[in-house]
C-alpha cells in the first residue's frame, strides 16, 4: 500500500515525527483556511511531481485557490491529481535525507541518511550517504544514531531532534509493517526546528490484516484491479490487448514474455493461483473479460490442479456471460484429455505448449483462424 503524502504525514504525526501544518482539498472552492504563505502540493503516488509543476507557492487564499485549481486535474506521469495538500511554507536552512527500507539481500532493515537532502536519492554520491543495517532481532542501537550525527555534521540541538526522528521513524517502520519510510527532504528550519518536508510511506500488502484501516487507502490500482483485489484475485492491467491468465506468478509472467516474443502484447495479467474451483475460474474470467481483451490466452500447468475442472469453469464463464471473445487454451494436468474435449466443444482453440498457445493467440487476434 502506497500512501499519499498527506496520509503518510498523518501517520508520521502519530509517531511524533514533526510535520508542517497543512490542509487537504479535492476542489478549489473547498480550500478554506490554508496556512499562509503555503506550498500547494499535488497528491499523487509518483515521484518527480515538483519538476512536473505539481508543487507551487501561494501567498493568499485567492492565490491558493487559483493555483490549487490549476494543479487539480493535472496529470503527472500518468496519474490524475485528485487532491492537493496546502502546507505551511518552511523557512529552510538545510535539507537532509532519511530513509528506512527492507534490504532483501541482507534480510535486514537498511537505514540511510545524508546531509544532501531534497535531491533524487540516486544522484547523491555514495560517500555522502550514511548506510547501516538494523537487524530486526536487535533493533536500533545508539551507536547508529551517534554515527549519523557525526556523518551529517549537525550541531547538538539539531542533532538531538534528528536522532529522535530516526528513532521514531524506525518505530513506525516496524510497527506499521513498512516496506519504505522516506523523508526527503528532512528540513532544518532557520528557527532551529527539524520537520519532515515530504513523506513517503509504503506498507506491506501482506500485513493488511494487521492494519485493516489502511486497506481502503491504496489508490495505485485501477478500478478493475481494485475489484479483483477485493475478490482475492491477482490481476494487473497492462498496455496490450491480449488477456493472459495462468496459474502461478512466475508462469503468468513467463507466458506474457513468450507472447511478446511471438509478436503479441499482454493487456492483462491474471494469476489464477492453485485453484481448480470452477467458481473461482469463472470469477477470474469475469474480471478478465471486463478488461475487453481481443483474445484470451489461458495457460495452466497443473501438476495437481485438475485440468478438466478448470475447463468446466471456463465453459461456465463463457456460456453464462454470453461472450464471444476467442480463447486459446493450453492446459496441462490431471485429466488433460477430458479438458481438451470440453474446450474444443465450446469452440476454444486448444494448444500443446506455451509457444504454440502464444503463436495461436497472435494469429487468432489477427483474424487468422
Amino acid at each position: 500500500m502506497k500512501f499519499l503524502e498527506y496520509k503518510a504525514k498523518e501517520i508520521f504525526a502519530r509517531y511524533d515525527i514533526p510535520v508542517p501544518r497543512g490542509v487537504v482539498a479535492s476542489r478549489p472552492d473547498n480550500i478554506a483556511d490554508p496556512p499562509l504563505p503555503c506550498m500547494v502540493k499535488a497528491q499523487v503516488l509518483v515521484g518527480g511531481r515538483g519538476k512536473a509543476g505539481g508543487i507551487r507557492p501561494a501567498s493568499s487564499l485567492d492565490e491558493a485557490r487559483v493555483v490549487g485549481g490549476e494543479i487539480l486535474g493535472m496529470e503527472i506521469h500518468g496519474y490524475r491529481v485528485r487532491q492537493v495538500y496546502l502546507e505551511e511554507r518552511l523557512d529552510i536552512e538545510k535539507e537532509l535525507y532519511l530513509s528506512l527500507a527492507i534490504d532483501r539481500s541482507a534480510r535486514e532493515a537498511l537505514l540511510m541518511a545524508s546531509a544532501l537532502g531534497g535531491l533524487e536519492i540516486e544522484s547523491v554520491p555514495r560517500d555522502e550517504m550514511y548506510m547501516e543495517h538494523v537487524p530486526a532481532m536487535i533493533g536500533l542501537q545508539p551507536y547508529v544514531l551517534r554515527a549519523i550525527l557525526r556523518k551529517l555534521g549537525l550541531p547538538k540541538e539539531i542533532g538531538e531532534q534528528v536522532a529522535a526522528i530516526v528513532r521514531r521513524a524506525y518505530d513506525l517502520f516496524r510497527k506499521e509493517d513498512a516496506e519504505l519510510v522516506e523523508i526527503n527532504p528532512l528540513v532544518v528550519t532557520r528557527d532551529g526546528r527539524v520537520v519532515a518536508g515530504d513523506a513517503k510511506l509504503i506498507v506491506d500488502d501482506n500485513a493488511e490484516y494487521r492494519h485493516p484501516d489502511y486497506a481502503a487507502l491504496d489508490q495505485d490500482r485501477t478500478r478493475l484491479e481494485e475489484e479483483a483485489h477485493d475478490k482475492g484475485i491477482t490481476f494487473i492491467q497492462l498496455d496490450g490487448d491480449i488477456g493472459v491468465i495462468a496459474n502461478g506468478a512466475g508462469l503468468t509472467m513467463a507466458t506474457l514474455d513468450v507472447l511478446n516474443l511471438k509478436g503479441g502484447k499482454g493487456g492483462a495479467f491474471l494469476d489464477l493461483g492453485g485453484t481448480d474451483d470452477p467458481e473461482k475460474v469463472k470469477q477470474a474470467f469475469e474480471i478478465l473479460l471486463k478488461a475487453r481483451p481481443s483474445v484470451i490466452l489461458l495457460n495452466i500447468f497443473g501438476g495437481i490442479t485438475k485440468a478438466d475442472t478448470v475447463a468446466l469453469g471456463v465453459k461456465q464463464a463463457l456460456q453464462e456471460m454470453g461472450e464471444k471473445v476467442p480463447v486459446v487454451a493450453r492446459i496441462k494436468g490431471v485429466n488433460e484429455d477430458a479438458a481438451k474435449q470440453i474446450l474444443r466443444d465450446i469452440g476454444t482453440h486448444p494448444a500443446e505448449t506455451i509457444e504454440e498457445a502464444a503463436e495461436l493467440a497472435v494469429k487468432v487476434r489477427a483474424g487468422g483462424t
Partner: protein, 287 residues
C-alpha cells in the same frame, strides 16, 4: 548425496489437519517421504493419513524423532509455527505459506540462521530430492532422479521447466523452490554454494524473475565460486515497472530489479539464459 533433503529426513507437518496440510501429506507419503508426525494445536491424539498428530512440535520431536518440518499454517500464525520448530531443534524448516508479512520474515530468517536452521521459503513450492524425499507441494510425477540441481523463485514455472527437463532426459539431484517473497530463508547464492559442493550435482539451473538483486548476486557468485555449468531463465521481461507481478518480490522498484539487468549479469558470468522456458533443456544439452 543431495542438497539439504535426503531420505533420512523424518518429516513433521505443521498444520496437518488443514485442507492443504492433509492433501499434501498424502502426496508426500505417496512420493516416499517419511512423514512421521503432524502438529495442529488442539488436535493432538488424532491421526491424518495414518500419521499421528500432536499439539506441539517438541512433543512430535520427542515421540517421533522428527528432524525437519514443513509448514502449511495460515500467514498470521506462520512465524510462530516456524519459531516453535526452530526452538525444538529442527534444522530444516520449509515454509509453504504465502502472504506472510515481510517484517515477520525479517524476524524469522536471521533468527533461524543464528540457530543453524535452514529455512526454505516462505511462499514456495518446497524442496524435492527425486528418488529420496519431498517436502513440498510439487507434482510427484514430473520429477526424475538425476544430476541437475534446480533453484527457483517460482512454483508452476518450475514445474513447466522441470517437466521439459525430465522429458529430455535431465533428471534432478535436488530442486529447491526458494520462494517468491522479498525476504526469504535460503537464497539463490546459498543454494548455488550447496549445489557446487554436492557431488551428485553436475549442472545447475537457476529460474529467476524480476525484483531485487538475487540474480545479479548469483551471477557474481558464479563467476568466483561455481565451476559447474549453470543455465538460467528470467521471468518478467515484459513486466511494467512499479507493479507487483503476483509474487510479493516480483517488482521493479526505482529502476532496480529489471529482467535486462539480470539477463546481462548472467551473460557476463558466462551463464546462458533461455528465451523460452522449454529451452532450458536444450541449453543443458549444450553444456
Amino acid at each position: 548425496m543431495a542438497v539439504l533433503l535426503t531420505k533420512k529426513a523424518r518429516v513433521l507437518v505443521q498444520g496437518i489437519t488443514g485442507h492443504q496440510g492433509t492433501f499434501h501429506t498424502r502426496a508426500m507419503l505417496d512420493f516416499g517421504t517419511k512423514v512421521v508426525a503432524g502438529v495442529t494445536p488442539g488436535k493432538g491424539g488424532t491421526k491424518v493419513e495414518g500419521v499421528p498428530v500432536f499439539d506441539g512440535v517438541r512433543e512430535a520431536v520427542l515421540r517421533r524423532k522428527a528432524n525437519a518440518s514443513i509448514i502449511f499454517v495460515p500467514a498470521p500464525f506462520a512465524k510462530d509455527a516456524a519459531i516453535e520448530a526452530i526452538e525444538a531443534g529442527l534444522k530444516l524448516v520449509v515454509v509453504i505459506t504465502e502472504r506472510i508479512p515481510f517484517h515477520d520474515c525479517l524476524d524469522l530468517v536471521p533468527y533461524a540462521r543464528s540457530k543453524g536452521c535452514a529455512i526454505i521459503g516462505p511462499n514456495c513450492p518446497g524442496i524435492i530430492t527425486p528418488g529420496q524425499s519431498k517436502m513440498g507441494i510439487m507434482p510427484n510425477h514430473i520429477f526424475a532422479p538425476g544430476d541437475v540441481g534446480v533453484i527457483s523463485r517460482s512454483g508452476t514455472l518450475t514445474y513447466e521447466i522441470v517437466n521439459a527437463m525430465t522429458q529430455a532426459g535431465f533428471g534432478q539431484s535436488t530442486c529447491i523452490g526458494i520462494g517468491g517473497d522479498p525476504v526469504i530463508g535460503t537464497n539463490t547464492v546459498e543454494a548455488l554454494a550447496m549445489f557446487q559442493k554436492d557431488r551428485k550435482t553436475k549442472r545447475i539451473v537457476v529460474v529467476g524473475e524480476i525484483g531485487g538483486t538475487a540474480e545479479e548476486e548469483a551471477a557474481e557468485f558464479i563467476k568466483r565460486h561455481v565451476t559447474k555449468p549453470v543455465v538460467a531463465y528470467v521471468a518478467g521481461r515484459t513486466a511494467p515497472p512499479g507493479k507487483r507481478m503476483g509474487h510479493a518480490g516480483a517488482i521493479i522498484q526505482a529502476g532496480k530489479g529489471t529482467a535486462e539487468s539480470k539477463v546481462r549479469a548472467f551473460a557476463e558470468a558466462g551463464v546462458p539464459v533461455a528465451d523460452y522456458p522449454a529451452d532450458i533443456a536444450k541449453l543443458l544439452a549444450a553444456t
